[in-house]
Structures are given as structure tokens and as C-alpha cells.
């Protein structure tokens, strides 16, 4: 494909006003599919989670998953939506080999949730309120693998393979109203909006929210309006932009591409576009045409969903604190500066940190351990930090440091023991014999020996060169195998050096 001309981003914004819209598909983490009892699980053997209903066999019929309805209502409520008094499913008719029935069971004129709002905060602190048009339920399609031709691409493939395990998995599609006034922040708005949706569905527990597994998928609509005009431009819909960074890049790319095209006197085709992660570009897909006549009609095999107001209120009562509000509260409670807090959020450690602090650990210590040593070990092992240790274990570890049982260095060894499954931090301390030696007797013996073997150092200390004590402290710590409190050792070294009890050993010895 020919490489598209791009206009300089700042110039594009001088000439045009971007108008955005997003359709985010959230895969629910129910145990079973939307309309049948097959398992909703990622990564099973091909076509192992299928039945007459989700395979679209003749005679198969759908049955609505109550949990999927509850999750959809809770998600709708979390997005500030109204929940429909009566809602129904409709058939969206189109032929495609990954769509077993050759219609998608979706919602059309009566979605479960509508008229919502979500306020997001950009890095500059700018608040943007995104109006949610609707959140509706539908089922996912199966998975196609394109064979032959260029690696995995649909273009030029010789044939394709279909796995219907994902077919029928419940989705909620969240559709925004047009977002105007985003201006230069538009790409960041896209990223932040999708991040906010992801955070909300995670907090609700209704989705695994793993973008890399396609649990949250974004279609980004972008159009440009010439400055001074009030006529909307033609929009493009970039499909399946599946990481936060990609949402930002794709919006920016489309603004620059469309601007160049319009400025050169061209026109925008209303079409779906593909996002290419590798090149950071979009390419033309199918133009919108009368083939998009989906012939929606009410699904006759399913009856309307009419959630009682009592049920809706019951579900509202289960909503967690909105993630944005929670973040504000936690940062204030913990007294973290922005950078510290952002580090925690970006490392996805908010939940474990909260639990660790709730278990009694001081906030800064909890942050230091989770974003430091534990994150480092998790990174090295290629796993998530919270899979290594529990907040309770970390809190117990920090407690041992606070009460002087462990030094930081000893604590790192204890952490290794805990991760290795040797028990609680106290158990590891006991079994590995790692506690700090707090009895001065053995320390004094070790210090006296070290001073005696280093008469030059002793002399320097006696001459008032206190910093020379470091060498003795190091030797003592080594002799104690780290199980000593360095501060106490220093105190004792100075004390012993000043007393007559210590005499230098005859030279030549102690080497």
C-alpha cells in the first residue's frame, strides 16, 4: 500500500478541529457464554467450547446468561447510564465465516443502558467529560486464522481456519457521543478514555480487562472539521486498536492523514480502517455501503429483558468506589507525591499496596518494597508482582524491619525465602536464622577482634578520624553475616576504640 501523506500535527490542528467517537467492546468474564452453557475461557483447544447454539447448528436456540445481564447493568451504572425499563435483543444480519449464525445477537433500538457520562483527567489536569450514548449487550464472533500468503494476513491468504470457542462470549459495547473540543489533546483523550473504561470494568470485576487478550477492544472514529465550519467531516472508523498506546497513536495518525488529504483537496471516504501496530499506520478496509444494511429485527428466540427498579438498585449498591475518586483518596491518604503515586498506578500495584497498608505497613515502606525489590524479582521472573507474595506477607516483612528484627538486607533474604515457599516471614527468619543480633556481647567480641587486627584504623579513630570506622564496621558486619544493626555496630566501634580495653595486636599478625 502506498504510504499516506501526513500533515504536521500542529499544522493539522491549526486548520482543522478533530471530532472523535469511540466504540469500546468489553468481554465479560462470566463462567459461560452469553447464550449457552459453554465455558467462556481463553486458550482452550480449538472448538472445544462449542454446542449446537454457539456453533449455529440447525435447531440451536439461545438462553440468556443472568450473570451477563447483571454485569452489563453494573457496568452501565458505573458509566452513569440510565438502565432501560425494558430492553431487548435484536439480530444484526450479515454473512461472515466467524459468525456462526450469520447474524450477531446484539441490541439495537432498546439497549440495556444509555445516556451516561464519564469524566477523565488528562496529564495536564484538564478534565474532559465524555458523553456515553449507550452500552449494549451482544455476543462475540469466533476466531479466524488466515493461512498461506503473507504471515497471518487476510490479504492474499489461501484459506482460513475457524475456531468458534470465542463465538458467543458476552460483550458489552460502549458507544460514546461525538467528542468535540478535544483539540490537540485528542489522542490523549482517546488513550485516557479507554484506560478509564478498562479501570472501571476491572474495579467492577466484570472483565479480566486484559487488552493483550482482546478483553477490551477499541474502535476509534475520527473526523476533521475545517476551522470556521460547522459541518461535520466524513469519519473513518479504525477497528480493533488494542493497546492504550495504539489508541493514542491511531487517533494522531488519522488526524494527520486526513488533514493532509483534505488540505490537498481530497475527500475522506467513509470506511473502516485497519490499525497496523508494527508500522503505526492505518490502511483502508471496506467502504461503508448498502452492504451495511444489517436488517435488524427483534430476536424472536429471546424475550425482552425488563430489569425491575429494585434489581437495578440492588446492583447499584454493589458498585465499587469510582476508580478516579479512589485514586484521589488514596494518594491523599498515603501522602505520595505525583511521581510516586503514578509509579504505583502504572505498575498496577494500587490494589496490593492498599491491602498491604491496610495490613499495617507504613505507606512509604509498602510502596518502596512493592515498586522496588518485589517488582524487580517479578520482572526477572516474567510474572506479576502480586503473584509472588501476598500483601499480608509484605506487611509482616515490613513489621520485622520496623521492630529491628531485620535489616533491609536481611529482609531481602527473608523475601526470597517467602517467595520460595518457605513460610511466613517469621518462619523464614527462624528457619534460616536471619534475625539481627541484638545482644551486644557477641558484637563487642567481634569489634574488639576487628580493631585489634587493624591497629592503623584504630589509631586513626583515636586521632578523631571517625570516618575510618567504616572499615571496621564492614568487617564486623561480615563477621556477623549481616545479622547486626549497622548503626549499633558503629556506636559500639567508637565506644570500644575510645576505651583502653582494646590493644593493637602485634604487627604481622591478623593477616
Amino acid at each position: 500500500m502506498a504510504k499516506a501523506e501526513l500533515m504536521d500535527y500542529d499544522k493539522a490542528l491549526e486548520l482543522f478541529e478533530p471530532v472523535l467517537g469511540f466504540e469500546v467492546h468489553v468481554e465479560l468474564n462470566t463462567k459461560t457464554k452469553m447464550f449457552c452453557g459453554c465455558a467462556n475461557e481463553f486458550g482452550s483447544g480449538a472448538n472445544t467450547n462449542t454446542c449446537p447454539t454457539c456453533l449455529g447448528l440447525p435447531g440451536g436456540l439461545p438462553q440468556v446468561n443472568r450473570q451477563a445481564i447483571e454485569s452489563s447493568i453494573r457496568l452501565g451504572l458505573a458509566l452513569g447510564c440510565e438502565i432501560a425499563e425494558t430492553s431487548r435483543f435484536a439480530r444484526k444480519n450479515y454473512f461472515y465465516p466467524d459468525t456462526a449464525k450469520n447474524f450477531q445477537t446484539s441490541q439495537y433500538d432498546e439497549p440495556i443502558a444509555f445516556n451516561g457520562q464519564l469524566t477523565i483527567e488528562l496529564e495536564t489536569g484538564r478534565l474532559v467529560t465524555v458523553d456515553i450514548e449507550r452500552a449494549h449487550m451482544e455476543d462475540d464472533a469466533g476466531k479466524l486464522t488466515h493461512m498461506g500468503g503473507a504471515a497471518g494476513r487476510i490479504q492474499g491468504a489461501d484459506y482460513s481456519l475457524v475456531d468458534y470457542n470465542r463465538g458467543g462470549v458476552p460483550l458489552v459495547e460502549i458507544v460514546t457521543q461525538m467528542i468535540e473540543g478535544g483539540e490537540a489533546d485528542s489522542p490523549e483523550i482517546g488513550k485516557t478514555y479507554v484506560a478509564a473504561i478498562r479501570e472501571i470494568v476491572k474495579a467492577l470485576g466484570v472483565s479480566n480487562a486484559r487488552m493483550e487478550e482482546g478483553n477490551v477492544r477499541c474502535d476509534a472514529n475520527v473526523s476533521l472539521r475545517p476551522r470556521g465550519s460547522n459541518i461535520l467531516g466524513t469519519r473513518t472508523e479504525t477497528k480493533n486498536v488494542n493497546s492504550l498506546r495504539s489508541v493514542e497513536r491511531a487517533v494522531r495518525y488519522e488526524i494527520q492523514r486526513q488533514a493532509a488529504l483534505l488540505h490537498a483537496g481530497g475527500t475522506i471516504t467513509q470506511e473502516t480502517r485497519h490499525w497496523h501496530e508494527d508500522t503505526g499506520t492505518t490502511s483502508a478496509g471496506r467502504p461503508k455501503s448498502d452492504a451495511d444494511d444489517y436488517r435488524y429485527f427483534p430476536e424472536p428466540d429471546l424475550v425482552p429483558v425488563a430489569p425491575s427498579r429494585a434489581w437495578v438498585e440492588e446492583l447499584r449498591a454493589t458498585l465499587p468506589e469510582p476508580p478516579a475518586a479512589r485514586r484521589k483518596r488514596l494518594q491523599a491518604d498515603w501522602g505520595f507525591v505525583n511521581l510516586e503515586f503514578q509509579d504505583v498506578v502504572n505498575s498496577d500495584l494500587l490494589d496490593v499496596l492498599e491491602a498491604t497498608i491496610a495490613a499495617g505497613a507504613p505507606a512509604q515502606a509498602a510502596r518502596k518494597w512493592w515498586t522496588g525489590e518485589i517488582a524487580r524479582l517479578a520482572n526477572a521472573a516474567g510474572v506479576s508482582a502480586d503473584s509472588l507474595v501476598t500483601p499480608a506477607q509484605v506487611a509482616a516483612l515490613i513489621e520485622l524491619i520496623t521492630d529491628g528484627t531485620l535489616t533491609d538486607r536481611l529482609a531481602r533474604q527473608v523475601l526470597e525465602g517467602v517467595i520460595a515457599g518457605e513460610g511466613t516471614p517469621s518462619e523464614v527468619v527462624a528457619s534460616r536464622g536471619l534475625a539481627v543480633v541484638s545482644d551486644d556481647g557477641p558484637l563487642i567480641a567481634a569489634i574488639d577482634e576487628a580493631l585489634a587486627s587493624q591497629p592503623d584504623v584504630l589509631a586513626k579513630i583515636r586521632d578523631g578520624k571517625v570516618q575510618a570506622a567504616g572499615a571496621v564496621i564492614g568487617a564486623v558486619m561480615k563477621a556477623m553475616r549481616g545479622q547486626a544493626d549497622a548503626a549499633r555496630v558503629r556506636e559500639l566501634v567508637l565506644e570500644r576504640a575510645g576505651s583502653a580495653a582494646v590493644e593493637p595486636a602485634p604487627s604481622g599478625s591478623g593477616e
Binding site: G59, R295, D301
Partner: protein, 515 residues
């Protein structure tokens, strides 16, 4: 001589229960008769001879071991090919599904197996149940046992002919706009379309989801009730299935045999289904039946259903619209045949289109295109939307009528069985044939057809249609059994005993004389 094949299911159940006969004997008698008459009738698309005998032997063994079995255990049954069966091909009368064996059983099939009935095979039908004559089967038409040159009705002509030709005492049918009742009428048998939601649709290959209903096809009202009790009741796999605690239809039918069962029953004659276009002999037998009912103490009055004149139009919008979507899954990917285009590139889209062109018959294509049109942007409101409003008006007509009467009656079909080819050239003429049966499907109410005599002009069976309010299926059985008893007493024999012998098989002593 009375043989095993011309017993009712109820009678066979009695003989099996008291050990007079074995299920293997009964099953073999039917299979032998199928062998003898199928060349003429062609009611079956598949006969499962070995499996039927093996199942019968197992049932006999369990009975011999003292196991308590259900009332119809060991009785053979024929299954309309619209129903998924895991051990027999299921084609819905279409070439596109030729040879397809589903990996599962329809709920009703599972229920008849659980009740130890003996599946004999799969019966012929109009392709995807689209038709009123079984002429639209991809596997050739079924012939009416009363006159082999005539249609057995449709779409369930195979099931109706099978019971009318004594190939099976019981059969399963499906009724979207009359596909159980109209074949029953033209073959002199009994057919019931239950209340929508009364019998599971899971595993029934959908024609029009909001209209389809599975039901019994038999030779007597009591047999239909016995079968209804086996297949009916809530099924969580069908979201439109009713959770009602249904009364025993068998008990309801038996109640109809009591003296005075018709006394005081209010019968409404639908003015709009008793006018022009009805064959003289059909009208005559209908009037005679009404007279007999009055004489038996029923209160017969006329009721009006002014919106029925729009029923056929509404039906031929709703049905094709739903069917066009239901039949989209026939795409050569997961099941069924695959046909490549004659030339040009082999793309998924082109292979689907070539398969659907080759696999669907003319009537199916006609209705898919019509339904696609009715749903397409810009036409939805005028066609599909308006048709759904007519549906409301027809429900209101029924509600108003049932305020005044207990049951509604009409002839089941405007004419007796017509000759092959008589209406295939004019789709609209064929569609109008369903005028009497369609309203019940649009409203979801139950309907029954039972024989009410032979038309004097052609000696062919005429059916009486009875309709009851939604959920009042039991009322149909009580009334139907009473009317059946009244008519048979009047004639002095059953209607089917008057059917001509087939293929030199001696079944009944010929008694002669029109009924």
C-alpha cells in the same frame, strides 16, 4: 382382520402393557408395512429399521424384567425431518442438508426416547417447512394415501401420510402456519398445534421462530393427547418455553368421552373463515357437524374476527423475514453441503452464494428474498413493522371472540386435497390456502384438526379446526375427543377405515358408502 398396524397408539399401549404383544412385533409389523406402501406413498426420507428393532427389543427386555415403563413405551413413532436426531439424517427436506447427522437430539426427540417410544424414521416435508403440499421437498413429494395423485398437505405431508397410511400410529410434526393441521385435514388424521411455548422448539430447525410449534400427528384425539403429554412442558433450552404446570391432556381427552361433555359448551363460528372460496363439500360437512354439535347440547353462535383478512399478508411478511435470518446459517462452513462456483475465484463469499443457490429450492429462495426485502432499510416499517401490528389486531380479535365463546371452529382448509402441480405455478394461490390456519400461529393459540367427513363431490377427507385460548390446550382435547366420538357414532366407523387399500395390502374389509 385387525392387524397391529391399524390399532390406535392407546390400544397398542394396552396390548404391550398386558403382554399380549411385544414391541418388536409391533415395530416389525409397521416396518413391513412401510416396505410395502412406501413405493406409493413416500412418507419417509429415512427408515431406521435396525435401530427401531433394537430399541424395541431393549424395551421388551426391560418390561420383561419388571421395569415400570411409561404409557407409550414400545409404541412406534415417525419423526418429521425438521427435528434433529443424533442417529438419523436430518435434512428438513432440503438438499443443502443432504446426509447431515446432527450431533444432538431435539428436546422433543429426547423426550420420546426417554418415554421409550420407538423411532421408525424421518418423514418427508416441504423444504424447511415452506409449503402446503410437500411438493417442495428436495426429495420428491409425498402422496396422499386417499388418492396417490393428490398432495398430502404440507409442510408435514410425510407425518400425516405416515399415520393415515398406517405406517406409524404416531408422528411428530411442526406447525408454523398450519403444517400439522392442514395435512391432518386432507389425510383424514388428527393434528394438534399446541400453545406457542407449550412444546420445546430446541432442536427443531427453525422456519419462523415466533410462529413455529412442534405437535402431535395421530389418528385419534386420545392418541394426540398421549403424545402431547410426552413431548410437552417447560424446556430451559427454549427461552420462549412456558413454565406452566400443564394438566394431563390424556385425562382431558378421556373427559371428552363422558356423556354430556358437549352440553353447554359455547362454540363460535368465525364468520370470516366460512365464506367465499370454500369448497361446497367442505362447507356441507362443516354445517352438518355444527348441527350435530347443537343437537348434542353445544351452543353454537357466530363471531366475527374482522382483522383475519389481513392475516395471510402479515404472515407472509413475518415468516419470510424471520426465515431469511434463520436460514442464514446454511453457509457451507460448519455443516451441510458445499458447492463451488462454476468459474471465477474460490472465495468464501462466492462459495457461500453458490452453495445457497444450489442447495436451496425455488420456494426457499423466493421467501428468503421476500424476507430480506421486508427487513431492509426503508421497508421495515411498511412491511415487517406493519405485519407485527396486524398480529396485535388478530390477538385482539381472538380475545374478543373468547370473551363470548369457549372454542372457535372453522373448516381446517378451504378445500380437500388438491392434485399435484395445481398450485405450484401461483405462489399467492398456494399461500391463500393457509387462510384458516394462520391466525392461530400469529396469536400463539392452540389449534386442532380432526376429521369431519368426506366431501361428497370427491370422497376426500375434510377437517374440522378447533381453536382455544392460549394455554387452554386441554379444552381442545376434551372437545375434540367428544366431537370425534359423536361423529364416529354418527358414521358407524372411523373415517380412516374408509381409505382405499394401498399396494394390494388388505387392511380393512371394504364397507363402501360415503361418510
Amino acid at each position: 382382520m385387525t392387524s397391529l398396524i391399524n390399532q390406535t397408539a392407546a390400544a397398542l399401549a394396552g396390548l404391550l402393557a398386558d403382554g399380549s404383544v411385544s414391541s418388536v412385533d409391533v415395530t416389525r409389523a409397521h416396518l413391513d408395512h412401510i416396505d410395502a406402501v412406501e413405493p406409493d406413498v413416500h412418507a419417509f426420507l429415512h427408515v431406521a429399521r435396525d435401530a427401531a428393532l433394537a430399541t424395541a427389543a431393549r424395551v421388551d427386555a426391560r418390561r420383561a424384567a419388571g421395569e415400570k415403563l411409561g404409557p407409550l413405551a414400545g409404541v412406534p413413532i415417525a419423526i418429521k425431518d425438521v427435528l434433529a436426531t443424533h442417529d438419523m439424517p436430518t435434512t428438513s427436506g432440503s438438499k443443502i442438508l443432504e446426509g447431515w447427522i446432527p450431533p444432538y437430539d431435539a428436546t422433543v426427540v429426547r423426550r420420546i426416547r426417554d418415554a421409550d417410544l420407538i423411532p421408525l424414521g424421518k418423514t418427508n416435508m416441504d423444504e424447511f417447512a415452506m409449503g402446503s403440499s410437500t411438493e417442495h421437498s428436495a426429495y420428491g413429494p409425498t402422496h396422499n394415501p386417499w388418492d396417490l395423485n393428490r398432495i398430502p398437505g404440507g409442510s408435514g405431508g410425510g407425518s400425516a401420510a405416515a399415520v393415515a397410511a398406517f405406517e406409524a400410529p404416531l408422528a411428530l410434526g411442526s406447525d408454523t402456519g398450519g403444517s400439522i393441521r392442514q395435512p391432518a385435514a386432507v389425510t383424514g388424521s388428527v393434528g394438534v398445534k399446541p400453545t406457542y411455548g407449550g412444546v420445546s422448539r430446541y432442536g427443531a430447525i427453525a422456519l419462523a421462530s415466533s410462529l413455529d410449534q412442534v405437535g402431535p400427528v395421530t389418528r385419534t384425539v386420545l392418541d394426540a393427547a398421549l403424545l402431547h403429554d410426552v413431548i410437552g412442558g417447560h424446556d430451559p433450552l427454549d427461552s420462549t418455553s412456558l413454565t406452566d404446570a400443564w394438566p394431563s391432556m390424556t385425562a382431558a381427552a378421556q373427559a371428552g368421552l363422558a356423556d354430556g361433555a358437549l352440553k353447554g359448551v359455547r362454540i363460535g363460528v368465525i364468520k370470516e373463515l366460512n365464506g367465499a372460496g370454500f369448497q361446497a363439500g367442505v362447507k356441507q360437512r362443516f354445517e352438518e357437524t355444527l348441527a350435530l354439535l347443537s343437537a348434542a347440547g353445544a351452543i353454537v353462535s357466530e363471531v366475527s374476527a374482522p382483522n383475519f383478512e389481513y392475516a395471510v399478508s402479515a404472515y407472509y411478511l413475518i415468516l419470510p423475514a424471520e426465515a431469511s435470518s434463520n436460514l442464514a446459517r446454511f453457509d457451507s462452513v460448519r455443516f451441510g453441503i458445499r458447492v463451488n462456483p462454476e468459474d471465477g475465484p474460490l472465495t468464501s463469499e462466492r462459495v457461500m452464494a453458490a452453495t445457497r443457490d444450489a442447495g436451496f429450492g425455488d420456494e426457499v429462495k423466493r421467501r428468503i428474498i421476500l424476507g430480506t426485502y421486508a427487513l431492509s432499510a426503508g421497508y421495515y416499517d411498511a412491511y415487517y413493522g406493519s405485519a407485527q401490528k396486524v398480529r396485535t389486531l388478530i390477538q385482539r380479535d381472538f380475545a374478543a371472540a373468547f370473551d363470548k365463546v369457549d372454542l372457535l371452529v372453522s373448516p381446517t382448509a378451504p378445500t380437500t386435497a388438491f392434485k399435484f402441480g395445481e398450485k405450484t405455478e401461483d405462489p399467492m394461490a398456494m399461500y391463500l390456502n393457509d387462510i384458516t390456519t394462520i391466525p392461530a400461529n400469529l396469536a400463539g393459540i392452540p389449534g386442532m384438526s380432526l376429521p369431519m367427513g368426506l366431501a361428497p363431490e370427491d370422497g376426500l377427507p375434510v377437517g374440522l379446526q378447533v381453536m382455544a385460548p392460549a394455554r387452554a390446550d386441554a379444552r381442545l382435547y376434551t372437545f375434540g375427543a367428544a366431537v370425534e366420538q359423536l361423529l364416529e357414532a354418527h358414521w358407524g366407523h372411523t373415517l380412516l377405515s374408509q381409505a382405499p387399500a394401498l399396494a394390494n395390502i388388505e387392511m380393512f374389509a371394504t364397507e363402501g358408502g360415503a361418510v
